[in-house]
Symmetry: C2
Subunit: 437 residues, 2 copies
């Protein structure tokens, strides 16, 4: 059997501790599967004294991950520190510069610096593996980078944030408000104390940016993603969606269009009888549409120490199975220098169906006025539902819910803004895009 593969783990949080424990516990079976042992020779974390429930005897401790990357007796750096800059980035750069393979779960780092890091890895014939960075344990990077070689991908989309999907699922199943579900998610550890990054879609955007590059062979562009979170989704939207045969999911979508590549993260109506609509709770799902294979959907755990550690371990095992310096898998599916520049499609040109919910004053002629504004903007309606008048303290109002046939974002914006200036709209109109498989 070949010599053991020596790895250094930077970051001993939930994922890092899981990984160390699993590699210790499964030494023998890993050696059988990989054709050689995987040995943790070095680790790095902030607090040396913390009890993580793992055995670190015989492992060299580094206080500084960059020091470990530069000087550790390692062939692979496993970076689990997180963050787009700072120690994570420096350690990864130092490892690649020195001829050490890198496995990382760091989506922010890749979304910001993925192309440069891929180029650095390729220059040295090193592997840069990052399965855990997108959709946790779901092997979506491997599918795009390896299985789909030769395919032209037209669209990738998915539920890539467990916190948001948990909240939306509970809102739907239990009729609770967004705020109550968020509190519950925080109590259960599914949401951070400051949940902004998850619920406003930034986390999904990071993952989407990486998938976009793999799908379309273009450079990563994380700043140009259209972003809309789930905090303004109400019970009214959820109920209206159900009535119309849809469920609401926070999707990240990247799509090739004539005008460029669309990257968008927003609450989305998906038809109730599709597979992705049934993905509930913290589970993630990623769909890939390609021209030879067709439609592929992968569903699984998108977070959690063990699930993420599993993806990291798969990446490490891939390196153990290949011989260092020999494998030629390009980190982003094709050599970094052959990636095309990212060409952004304008959001106003997005085409699709729309759900529009309006509260309007209940008077004669309003429906006709709304219909005229839709027609003025060449929007044709798939359905229109009027909900019973709501006679609160003020003037009576009613709710109008419309689902459009395919139209453009610009048309919808123009129509809604014309209606607002018409003066019969009460409150803020709700507009949710529809995505169909």
């Amino acid at each position: 059997m070949a010599e053991a593969l020596k790895i250094g783990v930077a970051g001993l949080g939930t994922v890092g501790a899981s990984l160390v424990r699993i590699i210790h516990e499964r030494q023998e079976s890993l050696a059988v599967s990989c054709g050689r042992a995987i040995e943790i020779t070095a680790v790095s974390a902030r607090n040396r004294d913390k009890d993580r429930g793992i055995d670190l005897s015989g492992v060299t401790w580094f206080d500084d991950p960059v020091d470990m990357a530069k000087n550790g007796e390692i062939e692979v750096l496993v970076e689990l520190i997180g963050g787009a800059d700072g120690a994570a980035r420096e350690a990864v750069e130092a490892a690649l510069a020195r001829g050490v393979h890198v496995v990382t779960a760091n989506k922010a780092l890749l979304a910001e610096s993925g192309v440069a890091l891929a180029a650095a890895a390729e220059e040295k014939g090193l592997l840069l593996n990052f399965e855990a960075a997108v959709a946790g344990g779901i092997p979506v990077i491997k599918a795009m980078r390896e299985s789909l070689t030769g395919n032209t991908i037209s669209r990738v989309y998915g539920i890539m944030n467990g916190t948001c999907n948990y909240i939306l699922t509970r809102m739907e199943k239990e009729g609770l408000s967004f705020e109550d579900c968020l509190k519950e998610a925080q109590r259960l550890g599914y949401a951070e104390a400051d949940p902004t990054f998850d619920i406003e879609g930034n986390d999904t955007a990071h993952k989407l940016a990486i998938m976009t590059a793999l799908a379309f062979g273009c450079e990563i562009s994380c700043d140009d993603i259209y972003l809309e979170g789930i905090s303004n989704i109400s019970q009214e939207d959820i109920r209206a969606a159900a009535e119309l045969g849809y469920r609401i999911k926070l999707l990240g979508v990247a799509q090739r269009t004539e005008g460029g590549i669309e990257q968008r993260v927003h609450p989305t109506m998906v038809p109730h009888d599709t597979v992705i609509a049934q993905v509930d709770g913290v589970t993630n799902a990623v769909a890939i549409e390609s021209d030879i294979l067709g439609d592929l959907l992968m569903v699984g755990p998108g977070a959690g120490g063990d699930a993420t550690a599993s993806a990291v371990l798969g990446d490490v095992a891939d390196i153990a199975k290949s011989r260092p310096g020999i494998q030629t898998v390009a980190a982003l599916g094709r050599p970094a220098k052959s990636l095309t520049p990212y060409k952004k499609a304008r959001m106003r040109s997005h085409e699709g169906g729309y759900f529009i919910r309006l509260r309007v004053v209940d008077r004669i002629g309003v429906i006709a006025a709304i219909a005229r504004r839709m027609a003025d903007n060449q929007i044709s309606l798939e359905s229109i539902v009027q909900h019973s008048a709501n006679g609160g303290g003020e003037a009576p109002t009613k709710t109008i819910i419309m689902v459009t046939h395919a139209t453009t974002e610009l048309s919808v914006r123009n129509a809604v803004s014309a209606m607002e200036s018409d003066g019969y709209i009460v409150g803020k109109p709700q507009v949710i895009r529809i995505e169909k498989p």
Copy 2:
């Protein structure tokens, strides 16, 4: 750039012709992704004069695939002939003996001879890739063989036969009989003129046998699979399933139990609100349950020339990206010589819920007698539904539908056979196993 990878394609049916066309059309992008060109240098098929709509100029033609495997100027044999024996097997054996990598879509060959072929490949340091053999375009082999390295898998199951799923879906959606749906499937080319192999579950069994070995690190055993097809599923079953919150799918299931490994293919009730229950038509789905990653489900096209060719191409690309003779991925996830013997769990020990539909004579005491037989066998009921009496020409009968809590196959068989000897059962009782994620 490295030299082109030379491949020989044996078999130019739908998949072979797709593959040749795609490799020609996408030469450049494949070369970019793989770091070198993929070149078809040889092909073999029965009829040289047939117009397949593909360009074979400059390609060496072999009438005999074994001759091509032995003498073609090739580094990879792509075997698309099919069949467990004969030319397919001889060509693969000849290629491996000669130091040529093999990519195959041949599930029958692998189910029968997979271990021996894996051993032959490993002895020479060759790759034996067979993504297309199970669930067509869905990268389930790669997920099990690579992504899940280090995981202990407890169960794999899936919808792996598009013909059966198409028939069951149409029966459910349109209320048609099994026979009518089968005819329609034949008319549309989704079923063979002789559909036995598909509808009786043999095709699913071949795929399951391969997955079982990958999942549990055991030898392949195709002969020991419990087999039950879909031809006796009636509209009554479909409607009763819907009423109870289930859908009927033909599943292949492999499961680790205390008594050994269960391998079974049978019509199965799956809860309506699960993701796999929503997989309709010819689409396939495979679920893998493992201890670190958790539950992974992959959904996609399980057949068709292009989808299958995509999987074959992914396998070829993996070889192009590695350097021949260097990669150490064991064909079955671990070296063939380290596979454990297959230990079969007895079907009578299978534990799970059961759906039981009985037609009984409508007389006092029958329900009590049925309940007693269930209790005698320690079977507890989740639900029991009695359907309105059917007053045909003969004695009046009624239908009893029961869903059990988890019990054993033996208990159910004993209970049903006791009821049959009691004399109140009319016709043949229907028993369908329930599978829960």
